[in-house]
């Protein structure tokens, strides 16, 4: 007699709460947003307009100018993180993992602390530091004789976005540092010893042995940075308000979505155009993540020890 495998009900039962909650607060709203972007208001009625909202967003000169401006700023925000945050994270991790470094635990903690602070505090504190009136930045630059370098960075169109991106880097550099630090520690000593036997030490050991071994971690960090940056909103909102001044120089998709969806000052909210922008953001992030997953992740070589 063949014994049928019992139906494993417990799996469904244990998964059910998480699936139910996740569906209710993530999946349904996501589809509701996508759905909302296909409607608009005509008179007092909600009517199905198909992709007309997207046509407005990309076809209308004003809407598309705001959209591309926000997307461009987002891309720059991301680029600054990739070029500054991740290399510094790798460098700090490499320094911390050096056995000769003293007080490593202290540095690790000190660098990680900003990550646990709220955006509101970080934005406010940096606004104060950089304030041309009360801030300590002009005074400190003056102290080392570089007062001439000071400018009201958050108020100048050319610098504001980069300044905020660097503030964000300052806050979050602890996360790549910790992830890469963990990856570096997990490299078995045998591998490193073998490298030393072959005469590969110091910097060349880092470039030739350690870096290839931590590449998967760097990949994961990059994609986390990508998703985080393209969803960013808080820091800009705290530091520059919903109008993302000066002259929309710091406007990113998040603040553009907020202004459109909820309305701002006298402007009444437009949920349909807001949902359209949200859908566009979702699409951009989805495409980015897919490129990463299929283009990079699958080609990364993993080493099994």
């Amino acid at each position: 007699m063949i014994r049928r495998r019992p139906v494993r009900w417990h799996i469904a039962v244990f998964l059910a709460p998480a699936v139910a909650v996740y569906t209710a607060i993530m999946i349904i709203p996501l589809f509701a947003t996508l759905n909302l972007s296909l409607y608009n208001v005509a008179g007092d009625n909600r009517v199905f307009v198909g992709l007309a909202n997207f046509a407005t967003l990309f076809g209308d000169a004003r809407w598309s100018a705001s959209f591309w401006n926000a997307l461009g700023n987002n891309a720059w925000f991301f680029l600054v993180h990739m070029l500054v945050q991740n290399p510094i994270g790798v460098l700090l991790a490499a320094l911390l993992s050096s056995p000769r470094l003293r007080m490593a635990a202290f540095y690790r903690t000190a660098i990680f602390i900003p990550t646990i602070l709220s955006f509101v505090i970080v934005g406010f504190v940096w606004k104060l530091i950089l304030s041309p009136i009360w801030g300590i930045a002009p005074g400190m630059l003056d102290f080392v004789g570089l007062k001439g370098l000071f400018a009201p960075w958050l108020g100048k169109e050319a610098y504001a976005l980069t300044t905020l991106a660097l503030v964000s880097v300052w806050q979050f550099v602890g996360i790549p540092m910790m992830l890469i630090y963990a990856a570096l520690l997990s490299i078995p000593d045998e591998v490193l010893e073998a490298a030393e036997m072959d005469g590969i030490t110091g910097a060349s050991q880092f470039w030739k042995i350690r870096l290839p071994l931590i590449l998967p971690s760097i990949g994961i960090i990059s994609i986390l940075t990508f998703v985080g940056n393209f969803n960013a909103f808080d820091l800009i909102y705290v530091a520059q308000g919903a109008l993302a001044g000066p002259n929309y120089a710091t406007d990113i998709l998040g603040t553009f979505l907020y202004r459109t969806f909820f309305g701002f000052q006298l402007q009444l909210g437009d949920p349909h155009m807001g949902a359209t922008i949200a859908t566009a953001m979702f699409g951009i992030i989805l495409v980015g993540v897919c490129i990463y997953l299929f283009g990079i992740q699958t080609r990364l070589r993993r080493y099994q020890f």
Partner: protein, 417 residues
Amino acid sequence: MTAKTFRIALLTSTLLAGAAAAQDVTLTIESWRNDDLTIWQDKIIPAFESANPGIKVVFAPTAPAEYNAVLNSKLDAGSAGDIITCRPFDASLELFNKGKLADLTDLPGMANFSPVAKSGWSTDDGAKTFCVPMASVIHGYIYNKDAFTELGIEVPKTEAEFFAALDKIKADGTYIPLAMGTNDQWEAATMGYNNIGPNYWKGEEGRLALIAGTQKLTDPQWVAPFAQMAKWKDYLGDGFEAQTYPDSQNLFTLGRAAVYPAGSWEISGFRAQAGFEMGAFYPPVQAEGDECYISDHTDIGIGMNAATPNAEAAKTFLNWVGSTEFAALYANALPGFFPLSNEPVTLEDPLAQEFIGWRGTCQSSIRSTYQILSRGTPNLENETWNASAAVIKGTETPEAAAARLQSGLASWYDPQK
């Protein structure tokens, strides 16, 4: 208990309850002004209750930023209070159009208000009014009297005198001539463009012409305020590009700046913080003897929930809000928020009295961007913020800023096409 006694008991209790209800009606007021809670409880409500026995009033404010959302959901759910504090223009107009706010056009107390005062809470054609105007804020300049005495400067009456005074302050170097920054953008539009503008576009005349489409934002009277603001740059503090609204307030109250382009709502805050004597002057006119115009902007109104079961009591209360007694009480409790009623009111705060006194010398108008013109996308008010800040910084010329605003407005507003 037999059925009969039960029925009698039921009947009596219903009657008693009915009698009690007839005796005492409780009105609940929805508001965003949670700062004013004690003033309502200690001064305004007792005055009303003693004059109108049988009506009790409860002031139940919510946080300003949440007010619109909370109020809308309460009105939809039918749980909103009887009296609704109204924001000016579109937010309240939308509630009226949806039938959430009652029509108050025939309320006797409405006779005390001018059409400008009522414009914030009237339909576009002015035929129906749905909230009693409660308070306005007036724009002008607040200045440091000590600084002016010290430097021997007279209060400027004309534009030339204004810039001569600023030059003198700048040459002396003790004070920053003008306390304003462009970081928050709205100050440049609210305390800049809409503060000095009415003198050029002749107040209501220009504002209504813009709405009617007979004037354009590129006309000289609408570009001129930008041209004046472009000159302000030289008189602002170092790094004004990153100077925020609180920064400007602090610069002035700490005595580091001499003139503050102001809204009258600053009065009570400045009173508490400034250690010097303050004065105020209205925006200087172009030439000696010109008619002056001020921005006397309608800011708070009060209306009735259309679904209230206590309509009669609510109307009694709203009528009282339209009276001179309420106006005097409210204005003295909150210096800087001025009653809109036609009846003259004397204020105890000298600075507030100075502001309200301009109503006698100058013509009142409201901010040009608030009625109708900020309904579409791009929103003229927000665009004006951006343009005003850009003009002050010198990144956009007055003409270019005006042209940009005009093309934005024309893109959705038919009379301007």
